[in-house]
């Protein structure tokens, strides 16, 4: 059960909580997609957000990061209220997100994709842009940092190729690396592993864990319960726009409501109890 700390967003920053949302609601026509009474993401932890399809997870991400506007509610990042703050300012404050469907900058090289994410670049000011002296140094530093990150994500070999030439999994990797390049204090990953090959997925988990170890808070959406079990410190379960359960991965997977709404009765069982019929289904009609 979510613990109720009324008006926490107003009563000053709670050092343990990096992101706090209260009564955030979003309706599309008559349909309520998100109606979250209370949500708190703890600093320096990996929090998983799970829930059935259409539960409102992505919509909540959009709301929290300023890509969509809620009909009601308050939410604060690191003590700063975020209502009405546009998406790019949210990102600049240190809360950086990725998208469920990757959004790489196809005709820019992988390295450019990384460099663009660096915060506070002087050369992005129009008046400074023509004078390379003003930004050349910062550019050099950013390139070094980008290459370090790329090698961590096994992409350094691809750095001069256009990002549009990457395969699906590599795009997922680039999307994550780019988010880190923005020096976030909190990353929000929307199904970073959906459609990623299981073996690759496993190797990516290490990166997420090491992020946390670097002091970055992580909130991620995922349908792969193995992964949730493996790396999450805390799990929030949403259904029909509301938070229905919270706790550790083990706790929530035992919650009845979570099982019926999300995991299903067959969860963990072998699907084909009898095994495949040898020689194929000669038993047509």
């Amino acid at each position: 059960m979510p613990d109720r700390i009324p008006s926490a967003a107003r009563s000053g920053p709670d050092p343990a909580v990096i992101l706090r949302a209260e009564n955030v609601a979003r309706r599309f026509g008559g349909f309520t997609a998100v109606d979250v009474d209370h949500l708190a993401v703890r600093r320096g932890e990996i929090t998983a957000l799970i829930g059935p399809n259409g539960a409102g997870k992505s919509t909540l991400f959009n709301l929290l990061t300023g890509f969509d506007r809620p009909d009601a509610g308050r939410w604060a990042f690191d003590g700063h209220p975020l209502a009405g703050v546009p998406a790019h300012k949210v990102a600049r404050m240190g809360m950086v997100r990725t998208f469920q469907l990757t959004r790489v900058l196809a005709r820019l090289t992988v390295l450019e994709n990384m460099r663009i994410a660096a915060p506070g670049q002087l050369g992005e000011r129009l008046w400074a842009a023509p004078f390379s002296l003003a930004w050349r140094r910062g550019e050099r530093d950013n390139t070094a940092r980008a290459r370090a990150l790329l090698s961590r994500f096994l992409l350094d070999g691809k750095r001069d190729e256009p990002a549009g030439a990457l395969s699906g999994g590599q795009r997922k990797l680039l999307e994550m690396a780019r988010a880190l390049m923005a020096e976030p204090r909190m990353v929000m990953l929307d199904e970073p592993m959906a459609g990623v090959n299981p073996a690759l997925k496993q190797s990516l988990l290490g990166h997420i864990v090491s992020l946390r170890d670097d002091g970055v808070s992580v909130l991620f959406v995922e349908h792969d319960m193995d992964m949730v079990h493996e790396i999450s410190d805390h799990v929030v379960v949403m259904a029909q726009g509301r938070v229905i359960a919270e706790g550790t991965a083990r706790e929530v997977t035992q919650d009845e409501r979570v099982v019926s709404a999300y995991l299903g009765e067959r969860f963990g069982d072998d699907l084909v109890e009898t095994g495949p019929t040898p020689g194929g289904g000669s038993g047509g009609r």
Partner: protein
């Protein structure tokens, strides 16, 4: 190193501008050359006019009216109007104002000077042009309309225009929906209908048959255009932007070919170009308008219903929704697109041949309407069929009605403002669907 020549050029241009800034632009004033007397003046000046009485019974020439001209020197000359109302007084030439007076007592019973009508009228002798005077007689028979009186007629004209345009907009919208092509050459399909109809009509073929043939030919043209031009281009994997620019090229080609053959003249059909107006309450219409509306309505309603009800219509909507997926459900996407092109061209040509009645036939007939059609489908929501129709009616009405408020030269601007206004409030157009981010 590479910058140095550039720097020199900057300095050069700055220096040159400096020199240029000493410029003083001369303001031109517009004056009217007055026609006044010159040395070789003629002997006499004629003062002429015609007396006509206007009241509820119509206009009747007034004979027997006495007109007196008084010169600057005080000399008087007079004449009486003939039975046809005309009068003419010849006075010796003298520089200075002439005062011309109508003797109201000489007018027949019931004929009076209209309130506010000038009498006497003063005119200055100018050159050798005869002087005329206009005496305004009778109560008048003008039936002026107030601003509000004009609304029904404007509304009618706007809806009429919008309906005709919707034929073109529908084709444009269908082609956009199924191929994502913003077809800048669509206006030329509109012109095609009018031109072919005209060409057949002048050879003596009855206009309706000519129109039918033109629409049919346009259908064939649309079919051929897609089958032998656009389809191979699509097969090459050409992007939508490149296709859009290709359509601009096609527009150039067609428009100039039309101009080549018509020489840029405005032409009129040989039949039904000048129909008589009929009145229905506050609205004037002609039988031809009714026929045009009927044709347009049948086509618009027919096409929209066909899109809903028929198998091909459903296929079209499916291709418009997601062409790649449509192929996997067993739809022959290319055939659907070719059909859409044929139907779109046919609709456009019909739009053109109907427009040809009211706007005459010229090589840029359709090109002038392209922006109207774009505004219509954008206001309605790109890709939405009903949106195209609704948008056309709205834009057409606005173009006509706006002239009640703003100068008519700016009537197109009104429609375009509507477009920008709608997009401000609904970026996806009135009937368009919003896209979801993230």
């Amino acid at each position: 190193m590479r910058l140095r020549p550039a720097l020199c050029l900057v300095l050069l241009v700055v220096a040159l501008f400096g020199a240029g800034s000493t410029a003083v632009a001369a303001a031109s004033t517009v004056g009217t050359a007055a026609l006044t007397a010159r040395g070789d003046d003629p002997e006499t000046v004629k003062v002429t006019g015609k007396l006509v009485n206007r009241d509820d019974t119509g206009s009747t020439p007034v004979g027997g009216g006495k007109v007196t001209v008084t010169g600057a020197s005080g000399a008087e000359y007079s004449a009486t109007s003939r039975p046809d109302g005309g009068f003419s007084v010849e006075v010796p030439f003298e520089v200075g104002p002439l005062s011309i007076e109508l003797d109201e007592r000489s007018l027949p019973d019931g004929v009076t000077l209209r309130e506010g009508g000038r009498n006497p009228i003063t005119r200055t002798v100018s050159g050798t042009l005869p002087l005329t005077v206009t005496f305004v007689l009778g109560k008048g028979d003008r039936q002026t309309m107030s601003w509000a009186d004009q609304i029904p007629q404007s509304l009618f004209n706007g809806l009429y225009f919008g309906l005709i345009i919707s034929l073109g907009a529908l084709g444009l919208s269908l082609i956009f929906a199924t191929t994502r092509l913003t077809n800048f050459a669509h206006g030329e399909m509109v012109t095609f209908g009018a031109l072919v109809t005209y060409a057949l009509n002048v050879t003596g073929i009855d206009i309706w048959l000519a129109g039918l043939l033109a629409a049919g030919l346009a259908g064939v043209f649309g079919f051929a255009q897609d089958r032998f031009f656009w389809r191979p281009i699509r097969r090459r994997g050409t992007g939508v932007l490149a296709m859009m620019i290709i359509s601009i090229g096609v527009q150039f080609i067609l428009r100039n070919v039309y101009q080549f053959f018509t020489g840029g003249r405005t032409e009129t059909y040989r039949q039904y170009t000048t129909p008589e107006g009929h009145r229905l309450g506050p609205i004037t219409y002609s039988v031809r308008d009714v026929v045009c509306v009927a044709i347009a309505l049948v086509l618009v309603v027919g096409v929209t219903i066909a899109l809903r009800r028929t198998r091909l219509g459903r296929a079209t909507r499916a291709v418009a929704d997601n062409a790649a997926l449509a192929a996997t459900t067993g739809i022959n996407v290319n055939r659907v697109i070719t059909t859409v092109w044929s139907v779109g061209a046919l609709l456009a040509a019909t739009c053109g041949l109907l427009l040809g009645f009211s706007q005459a036939v010229k090589f840029d007939l359709g090109a002038l309407q392209l922006l109207v059609m774009f505004a219509a489908i954008t206001v309605g929501g790109l890709g939405s069929v009903w949106g195209a129709v609704l948008g056309s009616l709205l834009v057409g009405t606005l173009i006509e009605m706006s002239t009640l408020v703003i100068p008519s030269e700016l009537k197109m601007a009104a429609a375009l403002f509507l477009l920008i206004g709608v997009l401000l409030v609904r970026p996806q157009g009135l009937l368009g669907r919003a896209q979801r981010i993230g």
